[in-house]
């Protein structure tokens, strides 16, 4: 059976006045029903652009999906026109954004915003949509949902707004739920609540989740498969155990070292990855991580490595074997 979502060789570029920004460079991944996929990476490495491309929400111009396929149940979403895409968005694939403060419309009531996708996709009447919206608000854990239905976003706290956003996304029981750093703007306790909520709903509704974050800690408890992204490339792919227990790419290693851990003594300093992610305007030949990499060898400057399997379901794009420090 074909996977639920199959992204093949997706390449997104932005044609700006300064030149061409290579935001996403030929990434491929598959999502099966009920899967949870984590995409991690630093800011500005193409995580958001890659999922916005899947949703067909890249502003064109300046953006352009230069190559690739996004097969949803075997159908290429990139070939669909505006009308057909509207039927997919929200109904089949739904998305939640980073900042709940700005992603709710300040002048419409929460209930109205949740009800809209029910009316658009399921053809519900106002009354039915209202009843269903209250149920959804209740499901995401908003107390006194019926009273809160007609509240405006400014009457909600940050965590409640993100819950409302999730209710909006889940309104039509989508098959794929994309979460684009949904907890970054929230404090840690609320963050934990939201993650628990998504986990519960995932198991309850049986949807696939794509969770984007730069926080490795979140992914560890949530995802089954993890993709590490850097400069628009996937540089390591594997199960959660692979990535956290046996990271093989120097970038993944460096990322994990820079995360504070409870079991380490507080006297140790956190490791820092020196330098900045490369400018996506003009990527040098060779591995994009090479300038910041402590394992760099001659080959790294010349050619960009491809993802190659090193174990069952574990792939890395690197010339070096980090366990020995020598070229593979």
């Amino acid at each position: 059976m074909a996977p639920l979502l199959e992204v093949q060789d997706l390449t997104t570029r932005f044609y700006t006045l300064d030149g061409i920004v290579h935001a996403v460079n030929g990434i491929s991944y598959t999502v099966e029903e009920g899967d949870t996929l984590g995409i991690v990476g630093e800011s500005g490495c193409g995580k958001s652009v890659s999922v916005l491309s899947v949703m067909g929400l890249i502003p064109e111009p300046p953006g352009k999906i230069a190559a690739g396929q996004v097969l949803y149940k075997g159908q290429d979403l990139l070939q669909l026109d505006q009308k057909q895409m509207e039927r997919i968005r929200g109904k089949e694939i739904a998305m939640v954004f980073q900042d709940p403060m700005t992603s709710l419309n300040p002048v419409l009531t929460i209930g109205h915003q949740i009800g809209e996708s029910l009316i658009v996709h399921l053809g519900m009447g106002q009354k039915e949509a209202r009843r269903q919206s209250v149920e959804l608000l209740d499901m995401v854990g908003i107390p006194q949902a019926a009273d809160r239905y007609s509240d405006y976003p400014h009457q909600f706290s940050g965590g409640m707004r993100q819950r409302a956003m999730i209710a909006m996304a889940l309104a039509c029981s989508p098959n794929i739920f994309i979460a684009d750093e949904p907890t970054t703007a929230l404090d840690v306790t609320i963050q934990a609540q939201i993650i628990d909520l998504v986990k519960t709903l995932r198991d309850q509704l049986g949807m696939a989740v794509i969770w984007i974050t730069h926080d490795l800690g979140i992914i560890a408890g949530l995802a089954e498969k993890v993709l590490v992204m850097y400069a628009g490339f996937f540089i390591e792919r594997g199960s959660v155990d692979d990535i956290y227990g046996d990271p093989r790419h120097p970038y993944t290693l460096a990322l994990l070292k820079s995360v504070p851990r409870v079991d380490r003594t507080s006297k140790e300093r956190l490791a820092v990855i020196s330098g900045l992610p490369p400018d996506l305007l003009g990527l040098p030949p060779g591995c994009p991580f090479a300038p910041r990499c402590t394992y760099m060898v001659e080959q790294c400057r010349k050619e960009n490595p491809c993802l190659e399997p090193i174990g069952f379901g574990h792939e890395i794009a690197c010339w070096v074997d980090v366990t020995t420090g020598r070229e593979r």
Partner: protein
Amino acid sequence: MTTTEVSWEFFEEEIERPPLTPAQVAWRRFRCHKMALVGVGLLIAIFLYVIVGAFIYSEADANRTDLSITLSPPSRDHPLGTDGTGRCILARTIYGGQISVLIGLSAVIVSVTVGVLIGAISGYYGGHIDAILMRFTEAMFNIPQLFLLILLAKLLSGKIPTFKLLGRSFSGSVIVIIGVIGLTSWMYLARIVRANFLSLKEQEFVTAARCIGSRNFSIIFEHILPNSVAPIVVAATLGVASAIINEAYVSFLGLGVQPPTATWGNMLDQAYHHLDSEPWMWFFPGMLILLTVLGINFVGDGLRDALDPRALTQTE
């Protein structure tokens, strides 16, 4: 002991009170604006004048000529005097006021509709559509409005016959003037709306709306437009004042609403030859225009402050 209980109850009441809706917040700020309240008072007075007055004087009174009492100064029978054909000025200002206010409001409806449509489409879609619509808007801007008004009024006058509505007969020129004023005053609004849309469409909630599969039409009118209501309301309010002035201007040149239908503007036109000798002919309609426009401008200023989110800290 008792004091703590009392304060606790008070506190509870504070908590129980539901948060203010945006409209309540705006009203609270509007109330602080003294001149705006004066403006509201003025407008209510004028509305009462033209509506309650109509119950006292019939339209026939307003149009009845009596050549035996032409150009008589204010008296017991005719409190505001009579005009060149012996018609009662008081009755005429009442019915003329209805027409003037009607023209002011309807012309604004026309200009807001056109302005919002052009501005919204231009701002939302951008690109070539934006370029074409905005060049057209600028072209319209570059032609002096009065010139357009006079030209269109001249071209279209007499094209629409007199019609009856709600038991009253209206000169077709009323429709012409509404259309002409509406179609020559939308450009400013179109620019405001476009500018608003340009910034609003980049907001994340618009992407979120597209994410749940909303159509362009519903994003423009349901999601973005309510966010730019404040500047539209302010522009529309001030637009009513300028529409009334424009009507007066065109009517004063004899190109506006044709007699016997009275408006404040064409009453001024008829007073033109009696400026020195019979001042009551121009004073009352002129004063009514002045007060109406003043009132509307005060209200517009108040609304601008009340609806401007950046003014949040100033009045509280």
